[in-house]
């Protein structure tokens, strides 16, 4: 039973061994088995003899018309043009690409409409106006010194007022 199992294990080793392509460890294992197994040893000899017999099949040459027939089929092939082959020249392709990129960039930049521009100007004017309006109070120290309660109020986030206070 043990030798049968070992013989079955020869199935994927014997051909490689006879080929001369087995790794050293595998070669030694096969040689060890062949030395002790007559059946596999005979099989190995007959495989070698078989390979000599298979060499008796002569090679054939393609017929003289082979190349011409192939060329005729190649010529009859439909021409497939890839996407880039439609471009006339590399420099034009580059120019077209640059134009497309620039168009995309210009389109992505946010524009300021006339209404938005007017609103911004109005907002600035309103800030200046309220600063001017409160100026007499701000310049009166007596009034400011009594405004302790104001310190408990949250600081205004208005940048125009913050700028005015910083002066």
């Amino acid at each position: 039973m043990g030798s049968t199992r070992r013989c079955e294990g020869m199935e994927d080793k014997l051909v490689e061994y006879l080929d001369g392509r087995a790794k050293p460890a595998q070669r030694r294992a096969v040689e060890e088995h062949l030395a002790g197994c007559e059946g596999c040893s005979v099989r190995a000899q007959e495989f070698r003899a078989l390979w000599s017999v298979l060499d008796d099949v002569p090679a054939i040459s393609p017929t003289p018309g082979f190349d011409a027939a192939l060329r005729a089929r190649l010529v009859a092939e439909p021409v497939r043009r890839g996407f880039w082959e439609w471009m006339p020249a590399p420099r034009f392709a580059f120019a077209a690409l640059a134009l497309v990129a620039m168009s995309v960039w210009v389109a992505s930049v946010p524009r300021v409409t006339p209404n938005q521009s007017a609103k911004i100007q109005t907002a600035v004017s309103d800030a200046d106006f309220s600063m001017i309006r409160d100026l007499p109070v701000l310049e009166n120290y007596d009034v400011i010194s009594k405004f302790d309660a104001l310190s408990e109020l949250p600081v205004s986030q208005d940048p125009a007022r913050a700028k005015a206070e910083s002066r």
Partner: protein, 191 residues
């Protein structure tokens, strides 16, 4: 092949000159029809040419080429087998006797000794190789006649190396028995 991919037509000519003979021989041994083999070989080169732009050198060119060839050969063999198995539905069958519903074909295959007398040695060998199951046949042809590496043949046949070696073992075992008279001609003549 990379030069062919780049559009070098002369490189394609070089590939053609280098591989047409081994390709025709492989296909001839697979399908046992030299005319069909040449037709299939041309088809292989056509497909190589068509796919040249997509070619990526992730595997050897021969692996790629022989995989195309093997697939075409297997398709051809299967198509021919189906044609040979066609039975006319108009063929009369004796409905009265159940035993005669099947069509019995006498085995007129001559013994190998008779074939030795009437056929060439190479024809007998090719016949035995052609009688192998398709994948075993392809494995033997790629191993014995094209002398490709195991990993290459395994990729072509889309199996593991271990499976390939078992395939080859079983194929050679069958051929060893089938072609025994050729291996030991003196013993065959005694019988």
């Amino acid at each position: 092949m990379l030069d062919v991919k780049a559009g070098d037509e002369q490189s394609f000519e070089l590939l053609l000159r280098k591989y047409r003979t081994p390709l025709v021989n492989f296909l001839n041994r697979m399908v046992r029809d030299s005319t069909a083999a040449e037709d299939l070989a041309q088809e292989v080169f056509l497909r190589v040419y068509r796919a040249r732009k997509e070619y990526a050198p992730s595997a050897k060119f021969t692996t790629w080429m022989f995989r195309i060839a093997t697939n075409l050969a297997l398709n051809s063999v299967r198509d021919n087998r189906h044609r040979q198995m066609d039975i006319s539905i108009d063929q009369p069958v004796d409905a009265g006797d159940e035993d005669q519903r099947t069509i019995d074909v006498p085995d007129r295959t001559p013994s190998i000794e008779q074939q030795l007398l009437t056929r060439g040695r190479s024809e007998i060998i090719l016949r035995a190789v052609h009688a192998l199951p398709e994948k075993q046949r392809a494995a033997v042809l790629l191993h014995k006649y094209q002398e490709l590496d195991y990993d290459e043949i395994a990729r072509i046949l889309e199996c593991s190396e271990s499976a390939l070696k078992s395939l080859l073992f079983r194929a050679y075992e069958t051929l060893r028995v089938e072609l025994a008279p050729l291996v030991k001609p003196t013993e065959a003549l005694k019988n």
